[in-house]
């Protein structure tokens, strides 16, 4: 697989993974760009025999997201994740707006999770990796990953149904 194929196959997944952590689209673009720049730098030395490219790429993505979070905390920025979305003047049809609101509610629920649960949920729903692959990437046990996913989804369900979000 050459770099172009890697990019085409995984860009959407990586971007979705980043969006689970980085709420603003512009910032997510920035972080995703840094991930693929790092992937390009390391691609010549990447050994395919050591594992699938997916795990390697999402390892880079996890580091980039952690760097972004550290940088934001260091700068003491107020998280825009907590700010309300600007008033929507989107002329799109009502069902599209409803979908957008639904997505915003889901992201709010994800943002309410602790950092580790959010990362596992992001990997599960965006990367296409199974629990064993996620366990290999995160260093957790496979059954532990399953329980974290279960608890996280239940927590989100409670938040959404309980009117917290």
């Amino acid at each position: 697989m050459d770099f172009a194929e890697l990019y085409d196959r995984y860009f959407d997944k990586v971007y979705n993974y980043v969006r689970y952590h980085v709420r603003l689209a512009a910032e997510a673009d920035d972080v995703t760009g840094r991930i693929f720049e790092a992937a390009l730098r390391g691609y010549e030395t990447y050994d395919q025999a050591r594992g699938p490219a997916q795990g390697w790429l999402f390892g880079i993505a996890r580091n980039a997201v952690a760097d972004w979070a550290r940088g934001r905390n260091r700068r003491g920025e107020v998280s825009l994740d907590d700010a309300p979305e600007p008033a929507d003047r989107d002329p799109r049809p009502p069902d599209a707006l409803e979908r957008k609101e639904e997505r915003a509610r889901l992201l709010d629920a994800i943002a309410g999770l602790d950092e580790r649960s959010r990362d596992i949920i992001a990997l599960k729903f965006s990367s296409g990796m199974n629990n064993r692959e996620i366990a290999g990437l995160t260093g957790l046990g496979e059954s532990n990953v399953g329980i974290i996913i279960f608890r996280a989804v239940k927590r989100m369900q409670a938040d959404l149904e309980g009117g917290k979000i």
Binding site: A4, F11, A25, A26, T32, L106, F125, F150, E161
Partner: protein
Amino acid sequence: MNEVEQAELFNRELDALLQGGGSPSFSGDQGALRLAASMAALDFSGESRVKAGLRARLVPAGEGFAAGLRALLANNYARAAFAAAAIAVALLPLARRQPAPPPAVVAHIAAPAPLGAAVPPQEAMSARLPASLRAAGSTGPLFASLPMGELRGEPIKAPVMELNSGRNTEGQGGTAIIFETDSGTFALERREVKPEQIFELRTL
């Protein structure tokens, strides 16, 4: 059913859902699986504004470097040249460590004359040159010290500043001597000063 069993059942049904294997049976917690199905349908990639631009920037760079390296190593002449260059670079530190013999001119440089010695005539200086340089009509060795004449101090012919008058004065908590010259009036003060009298204070 305990939590571990619930989690196993949930994850089995979730994997079936994510793999697109038809509608899940929802035998476990239906509300949680419905939420998981909503999350599985989430796709933000359409909101990215850099996808195409980033690809246009990165992919040619990746292909250019990889293709260039492959082409270089595929060419036998280029490979041999690359190997020769690598060997030359590896041997460069050894070549630098060989001490070079001192040039003949340096070996014949005369000791510098002591300060205050009389300047020798030109013929005497030429006689101290190596024969090879004398034949070439050279006037002197390179980087040789030339004897200088004796250093002498000369008195200042005119005073730099003439004092017209001077007086002691007191004021502002100290004493001072006022010098008046043709060039101007100068005060040599001795008094206590506060930092703000020396430095300019500015409030931001």
